[in-house]
Every structure is written in C-alpha cells, then in structure tokens.
C-alpha cells in the first residue's frame, strides 16, 4: 500500500480534529506540487474546470478570501465571492436559509467563514456540496494550520520532534486550536504562551505545555509562532495596555535570542506591529516566514479543494 491509499477522502474539510496523520500528509504532499505550479508563469490548470466554488464570508477577510479565490481559479473553477456582511444577512436571513438558497444554485464547493464556532459544521449538514471551513469563530481554521505546517516542513525538512511555541492571544484564536491539533499529529512538541487572561486554564489538556512567561516559553524552540491580539473579540479588556503586552509578550530580537539559534518566526497576519511583534523581527527575511506563509496558503487551499472535488467526482461515478 502507498500513502495514496490513505489520502484525504472525506466529504468536507471542517477541521484538523477529524484528520489522521496520513490524511494530513497527503494534503501537504499534494500542496508541495501546487507550490511548484504556482511559481510557473502559466499557473492555471483546467483540472477542475466546470466546477463552481462559492466563497461565503460572513466575516470580513481579505487575505483568506483572496487566497481561496486564487486557489480555485488556478484549478480552473468558476469562483464566486459572496461577502454577506452587507447583503442577505443584514436583511435578517439565517445561516441555514442562506445555505439552502445557495445549495439550489448547485455549487460544488462552499468555502465558509463565520464568526460563530460550529457554523461550518452546521452548514455542511444542510447542503449537498463539499464545505471547507475557512475559519469558524474561535474553533478551527484548518487551512491555516496546514499552510503553517507546510511552511515549517519546507523550511526545516520535517516537523518530527521540533519544539514550536505558539504565543499570544490563545483564547480567541482558532488558528491556535487548529495548529495545536495538527502539530501534535505531525509529532512536534507544542508550547502555548500568553497572559492567563488570554489562555484557557485547561489548555494544558490540548496536548501542549502552557507558559505565562514568554522568556521561558521560547527556550529551546525551533519556531516561534506569534498570534494577533484580537481586541475586537474580547468582551472586556483582558490586558491592561498594548505597551505592557509588548513588554511581556511581544516578540523582539532579544526575546527571540532565547530560542534555539536559527529559530524561525511565523505570524498568521494581519500583524499588530509593536504589539505582539517587532517589525525588526517580522521583516527580516532571514528569520521571518511570514510571506512564505501567504504563498503556502494558496498551495494548501488548492490541495484541499482538489481532494474534496476529486472525492466528489469519484463518488458520482
């Protein structure tokens, strides 16, 4: 048997939680091919020509939405963007009403972002097409975890045994939840660090070591992943001020020096410069993988869309 026998073949892509290691690796392997395709002058193929992809974004997003749009177009699909902050939802339509309406248009792939945890799962029960979770509330952002893993794998060869610190606002981060799950699946050692008000008290049971002191958290790390401080998601301010936050939880060169020599820096973006990360670190191409992450984003999304579409077409035969 080859890994091809274990390739990702689920009907939807809702989270890392439902994946096993061969499935995850099959997606990363395919994404590797799409990195090459995307670097060519002629980037588009007609592999999925005739299929329709709808990007359904209930939350405003620039980078994720355009990444999915480019991914779909490079595979030859017709891609339609629906920014719902301004249309039907504003008129009072529920999530399920919207889903049923779109389902009647026979899309093949529905890429969904919503501010409520569990929204993608709910939608997947109501439509006939494949659903891709592009971020649901504070739950999962599985394509972000895949692109982070691919970025690390291409930079360091393998994730096996790497020590990776995820620092910042863990409580409000779907990126952190998906990353902890995937990095564990790929046998990396995961650390979580943030002020206690931004780190769930039982996060140690997610499969990560918990730190509140960032100087200690980065010791021995190969990668330091910094998360965005999501002030907009906080009911009441969980930190006193951004200046205190930067002092104790901001990543600058001094703090990074406590990690392993050659340690790499990641950030899912958009960055709050001078709050969770110093520009000096974020913009240094020798240590920052931030722009690589964006490139890998398109590739892993092509892989996810491709495998979901392939599974559907095979099932239809």
């Amino acid at each position: 048997m080859t890994t091809e026998d274990y390739r990702f073949a689920q009907p939807h892509f809702l989270g890392i939680a439902g994946l096993n290691r061969p499935e995850a690796e099959s997606l990363l392997d395919l994404a590797d091919d799409y990195v090459e395709q995307s670097r060519r002058t002629q980037k588009n193929s007609d592999k999925l020509r005739g299929l329709t992809q709808i990007n359904l974004f209930f939350e405003p997003s620039t980078r994720t939405q355009s990444s999915f749009e480019i991914a779909g177009k490079r595979l030859g699909m017709d891609v339609i963007n629906m920014a719902l902050g301004t249309s039907s939802v504003a008129k009072g339509e529920t999530l399920i009403d919207t889903a049923v309406t779109l389902n009647a248009m026979h899309p093949d792939l529905l890429v969904v972002r919503h501010s409520a945890s569990g929204a993608a799962e709910l939608l997947s029960q109501k439509v006939d097409c494949a659903v891709v979770n592009a971020g649901d509330g504070q739950h999962e952002h599985p394509t972000q975890a895949l692109l982070d893993a691919l970025t690390i794998r291409r930079a360091l060869g393998s994730l096996d045994g790497l020590r990776i610190a995820i620092c910042g606002d863990i409580t409000h981060s779907r990126v952190a939840r998906s990353n902890v799950a995937l990095l564990n699946l790929l046998a990396a050692e995961v650390r979580l660090c943030g002020p206690p008000t931004l780190l769930p008290s039982d996060a140690d049971r997610w499969g990560a070591d918990v730190f509140h002191n960032m100087d200690e958290a980065v010791v021995g790390c190969d990668v330091v992943m910094v998360l965005r401080l999501q002030s907009e998601r906080m009911d009441q301010a969980a930190i006193p001020s951004t200046r205190e936050y930067f002092k104790f939880y901001g990543l600058d060169r001094n703090r990074l020096a406590k990690a392993n020599p050659g340690a790499l820096v990641m950030h899912p973006g958009p960055m709050n410069r001078g709050v969770e990360i110093d520009s000096d670190v974020a913009d240094d191409p020798a240590i920052s993988l931030v722009t690589k992450q964006v490139e890998m984003g398109v590739a892993v999304r092509m892989a996810v869309l491709d495998m979901l579409a392939t599974t559907r077409m095979e099932a239809a035969k």
Partner: protein
Amino acid sequence: MTQPILIQNARTIDPASGLDEVMDVLLADGVIAQVGTDIEHPSHAQIIDATALILAPGLIDLKVKTGEPGFEHRETLQSAGHAAAAGGVTTIVIAPDTQPVIDDAALVEYIRRSSRGTSLVNILPAGALTQGLHGEQIAEIGLMSEAGAVLFSNGDTGIPNADIMGKALSYAGAFNALVSCRPEDASLTGRGVMHSGELSSRLGLKGIPIAAETIAIARDIALAEYTGGRLLIDQVSSAAGIAMVRDAKAKGLEIYCTVSVHHLTLNELDVGEYRTFARLSPPLRAESDRQGLITALCDGTIDAIVSGHDPRPAEEKRLPFAESSAGACGLETLLSGALSLVHHGDAELSVVLGALTSGPADLLDLPAGRIAANAPADLILFDLEQPWVCDAGQLLSKSKNTPFDGRRMQGLTHATLVAGAVVFDREGRCK
C-alpha cells in the same frame, strides 16, 4: 556606613523562629550580624542597654494611606514616616488611593523616590489593581511589579464587576503578584455609616449589614478558586466573614486576610454618642464579631494585623456623624493597641507580634520581620507594661483622628531602628 550597634540584655522575641530569651544582638552594615549571648562587642560599636525591654522585629504594616500625592494636608510620606517610627513600624505599604492614583509604573517609582531620604522607615508602594481604581480595566500590573509595587489593591473600593475581578486575579498570576481587595458590596453598603444593628437603629444612623462583607468574600474566594489567583482579603470585620476565610484556607486555596487593630480592640459601642473618630470603613462591628476575629487571630486564620492608617483632618471629622469621613490614624497606636489583646489575656504575645512582623513579611516575601543573622536590622525596643494615655493631640501624624483618644494604653515603643540606625528614641536610651 552606620556605626555597629550592640543591643544587650533585651528579652529578644522572634515570632518566626519562636525565640523568646534574653539575648544580645549585634547590628552592622544594615543587617543583623549576630544573635547570641555574651557577644564580644567590637571596640567601635555603640552599646544599647535594653534591660527590661523587649527587642522584636520592626512592625510591617500592609495598609497605610498617606495623602501624598494629592492630599498632603492629611499626611505626607515624611509625616507618615515619623508616625510609623514612633509606633515601632519599620515598613509601611502605601495604598494606591492618592491623587493621581498609583496606577502607573512612573508613579510607583515616584513614591519610592520621594520617600527615599525623607521617610524614616521603609516605604513600599502598592499599585492600583484597576486603572484609576475605577474597577473597569486591569492596571499595568506587570510594569508596576517591575517598578517595585509589592501588591495590587483597589484601595477602599471593591470591584463591582465579577468578570473584571476574576480577570485581575488571573492576570496577576503571570507575575505572581498578590491581589488585595476590600470585601465590600457597594450596593449593600450604600450610604451606611456604621454597623447595622440595634445600636445603629437607636442612633438613627444608616447601617452597613454584615452581608455587605460576606457576599463580597464569598464571591472573591470563588473567583480565586476559579482563576488560581493569590488573594489578600483586606480588613475583614465580621465573625461570619472570617469564618469563610478559615474554610477557604482549609481547602488549600491561596487566600490570605488582614484585620485592622481597631476591629480587634474596639466595637460598635465605641461610636457612643456619635464619635466620628470611631467612624471607620469597614465599620466597627458587634462584640461577637470582635471575639470571632480574636479567635481567628489565635488559630492563624489572620495573616496580618494592619493599622488601616487613614489620616483625616479636623474638617473631615468635626461634622455630624453621617457627614464625616470614615478612617482613623493607626500607625502610632498599632503596637499598643495590639498589646492590649495580650494584657486582656486574649492572645499570646508571640501570636500578636507574629501577625505584625513575620506574617506580613511572608505575604510579601520580604527578608525583614525576623531576628536572624543577615535579616535587615529593622528592630524595635518596647516596654510591654508601661502605661500611658492616648492623646490624639500628641500624635505625630498631620491628622489627629484616633478612636483610641483618651484611652488608657499599656505598652509603648522606646526605640525604633531601620537598617541598623536608630530612627526613633523616646527616652534617650540609644545615645
């Protein structure tokens, strides 16, 4: 460099180690160099003959208000230092309720800097727990910790929003900071001015029910348990409240508490005929509450006795009771007041001294508060028996409000040493 001092023949009591013997103690370079009998004295050392006096660690007072900055007519850091030295208090923690509020690292640094050289005793700033003490947004606990704030308190006001109190406890945990909170439900306290009971109803004064305290204690204990924070409950006043603290400690929670010397020694009857000097916050409670607090002192539930020093000038006290300000001076009467518990047979001397020295030192992780080699030479000499009458007019504080005014006291500080230097010498024995 100060001259070495050899204190001879004092009954030396160190509550932390249980020492209680006639000993000699040699001080040099600001620390205790040697504790023993027949210490050979260096030729250049000053000798203090302390026969018939008790030598104990200097008192550490976790709850002191001055008026600096903002209300210097009440008290300055300098005048508070003089009062403290006369009362045998060698370290005071300054509450953040000043104008401006101490909610910024620069203000913590200001208190430290402006007390250096002007104050006779050690001054440690407490930082505000919430910005402006408004109870709405956590203050910069990390930056203030680095600047030297030793604990974080919301001053004399509670935090009404439980979520914010929980976040403060949780956040402080990252810096291992001690959070102190006054247990008071503001909606129940309302405009109350004294303990709610028969006396308040007879006097026609609005009462503050014990539930105002117990509800807040129950909430804050639950939040400390939920967040794993370290909580110092400031000035418990009721028997029911202290029983809740005892139960929380038995569960292994990091809950600590203080009680003011006034609540251990006075009760609601001291309000008498509308004496505004006895208007305190929290209010003096019933005798059964005072007895409950004494029991808690003896069984170790109370970690520290504080003065609750809150100087209020005459214009805030010479008013109808309900219009006067709450608060009492306490630094100069802290030791004598607490010693009355010993003289009445309510508590052992070592227990009382422990709650004034090593107890608060342990809460703040200070090396002071004990008599041992290399500990800071912050010491007091006092006469356990000496009778005197408290005269508010003689207080060194800028304000003269004490509920002990006119009261016969027993036990008096004779000398106070800070960092090995005599800063107060009542009878000239240290010359």
